[in-house]
């Protein structure tokens, strides 16, 4: 069968998923992904033309709550864990940079 996962596709997936790993680990990852995706092939034999896909895990209708402001978390445990902060604001690196 055709290679579903190629080295190029893996590089693209790494970008999409925002995970970096060293070159040396790519071969093993490629093999593992191929094995698992190959396993998924068995799904092709199930006839599903008339099946409505499942959506979510619940049998219930959605539950809404008021859109009101609430203070539920302590600053010590939220702001306190920011890598860099200014008062109770989170400092972020530039979103646009290096042509991204």
């Amino acid at each position: 069968m055709e290679d579903i996962i190629t080295r190029e596709k893996l590089a693209h997936l790494k970008e999409l998923a925002k995970v970096h790993f060293p070159e040396g680990q790519e071969e093993k990852m490629l093999r593992d992904l191929e094995k698992v995706i190959d396993y998924f092939e068995e799904l092709k034999e199930v006839r599903t033309e008339t099946v409505t896909p499942a959506a979510g895990g619940s049998f219930n209708t959605n539950v809404f709550r008021d859109d009101s402001e609430k203070k539920e978390f302590s600053d010590a445990h939220t702001v306190g864990q920011f890598p860099e902060s200014h008062g109770d604001l989170l400092c972020m690196p530039p979103v646009f940079g290096n042509g991204e």
Partner: protein, 485 residues
């Protein structure tokens, strides 16, 4: 008296009768956990808060106040469930120094019941694994045989109860992560109905499948914990409104009227001979005592593993996008946001997490979505329909289903770690209940003393929100077999 081998009911009685104090209990358990170098169920111990809570419980007992059945009971919590002010790692380096910013609803309920939280238990990283070997910190070992895995992902919580490091514990089950370790460790583990226990404060793996549930030494213990943590929560939009009967309330007259189904496909899969024999022995106990037992068919079971590794990885890749190093856990000196994401996640996530995030990204990506994700959601529906048919009056007409939990006993440490498919197949009998949102309890076929033979569990799967049925059937089984096996 060995406090560590009591059931929750016996514990409560002895505590009220002042045979020991809650503080003494905490001392025994913390000392035990600190001295242990073999099983290692805990990532973090909560000595100070446990002692503080124990003193409060002792005050209530001394005043003769009415206390909750969980008051003073030493419990352990899986480390993907948040406790305010306590380190919560999810077994991952990316959360190595993360401190919970609020109490999960289940933790809040345990605190309100004055249960004692001894510590946070080890798990496969982000609950991704069936052996505990994917923890970024260390692998918990099976208390029955330290050369074997305790199962996963809630292996720490199962080993804590089996090894007498806690009287009960909480885990989470996405595709079998409570029931598989319960079976491997010879304890009881309940995956409740989707929507019966709030997921607020659980670090999500796959939100349409995840449920928090209890481990106990007995079915009744697990039911007592379940009764304490269940219920509607406005913080979880999928949690069910309305109350239903306590699962720990035993009703022998009703239990004997239950019709049980045996899914033939579960016995056609490759299964270890000893496991098959023991599970069939358990079913015979029900048969010999006159339960109505029918063979049923769940024909799409064999696709469960494929469907699971499409849907779960898709949801996980999305859920884990939040771990980006921006608000906490940064592990990068890079200057741009993009580079911070990639490096923090690259260094912080282990191999299995990366594998699943990449797979999930793949099955959701343009060009492959229909072939994998959409197809899997359709087969998931067929698996759920199989159960609906088995439970419907015009179909199988059964009230509960008896089945094996895992095709094998606890396997050796390292045996499956390099072969993802072999590892994934451990979940084949547990995944289907998650797809259909059904409650399922794994209980040991018999008592397995530590150091003896390896445990085997069987599961009882019920209709949605019928935890009482399956826990009562489990209690009946324990009563029936106690002392006889």
């Amino acid at each position: 008296m060995d406090i560590r081998t009591l059931t929750i009911k016996e514990f409560g009685k002895s505590l009220k009768n002042k045979k020991f104090s809650a503080e003494e209990v905490v001392d025994v358990y913390i000392k035990n956990a600190r001295e242990d170098e073999v099983t290692r169920p805990f990532i973090t111990l909560c000595d100070a808060s446990a002692r503080e809570e124990a003193r409060r419980v002792d005050e209530y007992v001394n005043k003769g106040a009415d206390i909750h059945p969980l008051a003073g009971v030493p419990l352990a919590i899986k480390d993907n469930i948040l406790i305010e002010g306590v380190r919560t790692t999810a077994g991952s380096k990316i959360l190595d120094s993360y401190v919970g910013s609020y109490d999960a609803t289940v933790v809040k309920k345990i605190k309100e019941a004055h249960g004692i939280i001894l510590g946070k238990t080890n798990l496969d990283e982000f609950a991704m694994g069936s052996s505990n070997e994917n923890s970024a910190f260390f692998s918990t070992k099976n208390p029955h045989d330290p050369t074997r895995v305790p199962g996963g992902s809630s292996g720490g919580s199962a080993a804590a109860v089996a090894g007498n490091f806690a009287l009960g514990s909480l885990g989470s089950d996405t595709g079998g992560s409570i029931r598989e370790p319960a079976s491997f460790c010879g304890v009881v583990g309940l995956k409740p109905t989707y929507g019966s226990v709030s997921r607020f404060g659980l670090i999500a793996l796959a939100s349409s499948l995840d449920q928090i549930g209890p481990f106990g030494k007995t079915v009744e213990d697990a039911a007592i914990i379940f009764d304490a943590i269940k219920g509607h929560d406005a913080h979880d939009a999928t949690s069910k409104r309305g109350e239903y009967a306590p699962a720990s309330l035993y009703d022998e007259d009703r239990v004997k009227t239950r019709t049980l189904g045996i899914p033939k496909e579960y016995f056609e899969e490759k299964m270890d001979k000893d496991v098959a024999r023991e599970v069939e022995g358990a079913i015979d106990v029900f048969r010999k005592k006159g339960f109505s037992i029918k063979e049923i068919s769940l024909p799409h079971t064999k696709y469960a593993v494929s469907v699971y590794y499409v849907i779960m990885t898709a949801e996980a890749s999305s859920n884990l996008a939040r771990f980006d190093g921006v608000r906490y856990g940064r592990n990068s000196e890079k200057n741009t946001l993009w580079d911070i994401y990639k490096e923090t996640r690259g260094r912080g996530f282990g191999d299995e997490v990366k594998r699943r995030v990449l797979l999930g990204t793949f099955v959701l990506s343009s060009g492959y979505y229909d072939a994998y994700y959409l197809k899997a959601q359709k087969v998931r529906k067929l698996i759920a329909d199989d159960f609906e048919n088995a439970f419907s009056e015009n179909g199988g007409g059964v009230d509960a289903i008896l089945a094996p939990v895992v095709p094998t006993k606890a396997f050796k440490v390292g045996e499956k770690i390099s072969d993802p498919i072999a590892m994934y197949l451990s979940d084949i009998f547990t995944i289907p209940a998650n797809f259909a949102g059904l409650p399922a309890v794994s209980l040991p076929v018999k008592k397995y003393p530590l150091g003896g033979e390896l445990p085997v569990g069987f599961q009882i799967i019920g209709k949605p929100f019928h935890e009482k049925d399956i826990m009562n059937l489990g209690m009946w089984y324990e009563r029936e077999t106690e002392g006889k096996k």
